[in-house]
């Protein structure tokens, strides 16, 4: 360009500086070694887990290393393979990762605050948008907390419908995980397959709930609608197809040398480390701890169905893959039992306090109309108190802490998002690995940013 003058160069430099300043997060990011306290340094390399408590050995964190030997690079928040708007700052020594710090909050939606303004009836609409791959689990977590506070007992059909939908959702969620994980490793065909199978389940969701995602199907007191006619056939077809295809994936991925080479032995985590970090779900199970809330602290009717808890041994990437792959099979097993044993009866409690009157009655009776209107505008009151309930979402323990002051709105709603806690394991898993493995590590943790940031 002919019009490049010193002046324009200065302007460009200013512009770059301004943009950097706009998007930098200051101390939230990864700082240089000399600007970082020993404690934090230890945390970032996972050294605190090895010692007892905070008694850190400076050699563990390699304080001698100077900043000009290393380089800090930035991945995200708009990076193609970070699974949403996750930003990772990595300190590298050549190709090796020394420290990692996830910077999150790029999808902070203020759902906990919004949840305080919505009534309990509307609450499920809000939480369903947290973990957008398994909306049913979120709704279930929230509704379980509300129902525990209310003390209502669900009719058996509602319980089994919930269980079946939650398991179908788990299958869909794991399929998307396999798809994106394949994509991250360069296996584009897996990407296409995963989404293809997921469509089957989404089509059934659309038929039952009216929406493909963010269904708002599980509501306090039951579910929003009964299963559609002919659902047994639909679900059976889904089960048969997916089970068959799962074997294909097994063949496609498990036996593939490139895939194994990139997954096996990469980013291991031990059971002690996982528990110290609060990690749950497939990551904890991949380390060999058979902890699955469906089995160990059963909710719904999980104590009446037959399934295995899948565990791994080494806690590396490959184990996490294998656990999820086999969980698809187990979930299908549960779904089949649900189809066989689905009880008859009501799909929501017949408690006038939480359940709107049936549509037919609204046309006939004024009281029913008023009741319906009140329930949806004001909502119902929940006795004062506080409760924490947890369920097993595809990513781990999904807890909901509710404080009620007796009004129709939650006083405080807090969701313990499994991905949020699991993300803390990333720095530990990354340490000493290669940059190219960073992608597979993030992918194997399976963070859903909507849930991390809420």
């Amino acid at each position: 360009m002919s019009d490049v003058t010193p002046e324009t160069t200065v302007r460009v430099a200013e512009r770059v500086e301004r943009l950097t300043a706009e998007t930098s997060e200051g101390p939230q990011g990864l700082l240089e070694r000399r600007a970082t306290e020993l404690n934090e340094l230890g945390r970032e390399v996972g050294a605190v887990l090895r010692g007892t408590g905070l008694a850190l050995d400076p050699r563990d964190v390699d304080v001698e290393r100077s900043d000009d030997e290393t380089m800090i690079i930035n991945m995200g928040p708009a990076h193609p393979s970070t699974h949403g708007v996750l930003r990772l700052m990595l300190e590298l020594d050549g190709e090796y990762v020394l420290r990692t710090k996830p910077v999150i909050g790029y999808l902070h939606t203020g759902m906990e605050k919004t949840g305080e303004t919505l009534s309990y009836v509307q609450g499920a609409t809000n939480v369903t948008r947290m973990d957008y791959l398994s909306p049913i689990s979120n709704e279930l977590g929230f509704c379980t907390a509300v129902e525990t506070l209310l003390g209502v007992e669900l009719p058996p059909r509602a319980v089994w419908i919930r269980m079946m939908m939650a398991e179908l959702n788990r299958v869909a969620s794991h399929l998307v995980w396999m798809a994106t994980n394949g994509m991250d490793l360069g296996s584009t065909s897996m990407m296409i397959y995963g989404f293809r199978e997921r469509e089957l389940i989404l089509a059934f969701f659309e038929k039952t709930t009216g929406l493909r995602m963010n269904t708002n199907y599980v509501r306090p007191g039951g579910v929003a609608a009964d299963l559609p006619d002919g659902w047994e056939d639909d679900v059976t077809v889904i089960c048969d197809t997916i089970l068959e295809r799962t074997d294909e994936y097994d063949e496609l991925l498990t036996g593939q040398p490139i895939f194994r080479g990139r997954m096996e032995g990469v980013a291991p985590i031990s059971a002690e480390e996982a528990m110290a970090l609060g990690v749950t779900g497939p990551i904890l199970r991949s380390t060999g701890v058979a902890w699955d809330l469906r089995r160990t602290m059963p909710y719904l009717a999980y104590d009446q169905v037959d399934f295995d808890v899948i565990v791994g041994t080494y806690g590396d990437n490959f184990d996490r893959f294998a656990v999820r792959l086999n969980e698809i099979r187990e979930s299908i097993r549960i779904v089949r039992q649900c189809v066989e044993r689905m009880p008859r009866g009501d799909y929501r409690v017949q408690d006038a306090k939480v359940t709107p009157p049936p549509r037919a009655r609204i046309d006939e009776s004024m009281e029913a109309l008023i009741h319906h209107f009140k329930l949806f505008t004001e909502g119902f009151q929940v006795p004062a108190g506080e409760v924490y309930t947890a369920i097993e979402s595809p990513r781990g323990e999904l807890g909901c802490y509710l404080v009620s002051d007796g009004s129709p709105h939650p006083f405080r709603m807090h969701v313990r998002a499994p991905s949020f806690v699991n993300l803390q394991a990333v720095p530990l898993m990354m340490r000493g690995g290669m940059v190219s493995d960073a992608i597979t590590v993030i992918s194997s943790v399976d963070p859903i940013m909507g849930e991390v940031d809420r």
């Binding site: 019009d3 324009t8 302007r11 460009v12 301004r18 943009l19 706009e22 998007t23 997060e25 928040p77 708009a78 990076h79 193609p80 949403g84 708007v85 909050g105 790029y106 999808l107 902070h108 939606t109 203020g110 759902m111 605050k113 919004t114 609409t125 809000n126 948008r129 957008y132 791959l133 998307v176 798809a179 990407m191 296409i192 397959y193 989404f195 293809r196 997921r198 469509e199 989404l202 493909r212 995602m213 963010n214 940013m449 909507g450 940031d453």
Partner: protein
Amino acid sequence: MALEDLHHNFLTGRLEDMVRWARRASVWPATFGLACCAIEMMAAGAADYDLARYGMEVFRNSPRQADLMIVAGRVSQKMAPVLRQVYDQMMEPKWVISMGVCASSGGMFNNYAIVQGVDQIVPVDVYAPGCPPSPETLMHAILTLHEQIRTGEVLRRRGGATPPAAGSGGWTPEVPVAVRLGTPT
């Protein structure tokens, strides 16, 4: 030279029409998935809906190589500057689809954390409604955009070439970079 002497088929037309036609048929989207809508965007690109039919399956990871930004999901206050930066890095001509009610208006999250409409940050060409918009809706939005490109102007300067107001700080109206660098601040 008479036309009969030519040995190949050819078309005549206005250059503008050709450019529009070519642009319309090869819009490359940037991957800018933010939240739930991004999953539906991915589903639209996958087997069942197959965006490749419109010449759009090449989701580009680098904004430099993309023409279309599909803002799929809610934009938080923390993400807003990043989004603007990615948009600034895209080359002209560029288009924006705001996918989902969150991106279009904040949706159900009218609170402190979410930007109430991405059009406050970048100019939007097409809004796709829905929460999430189904892949069909997204495809409809894309076809609408194609129609706009086919019938729109070839050269356009978004937001006009007015210099940024003094003291407007980080936010400058969209002006091609060359123009912006030449304007007095």
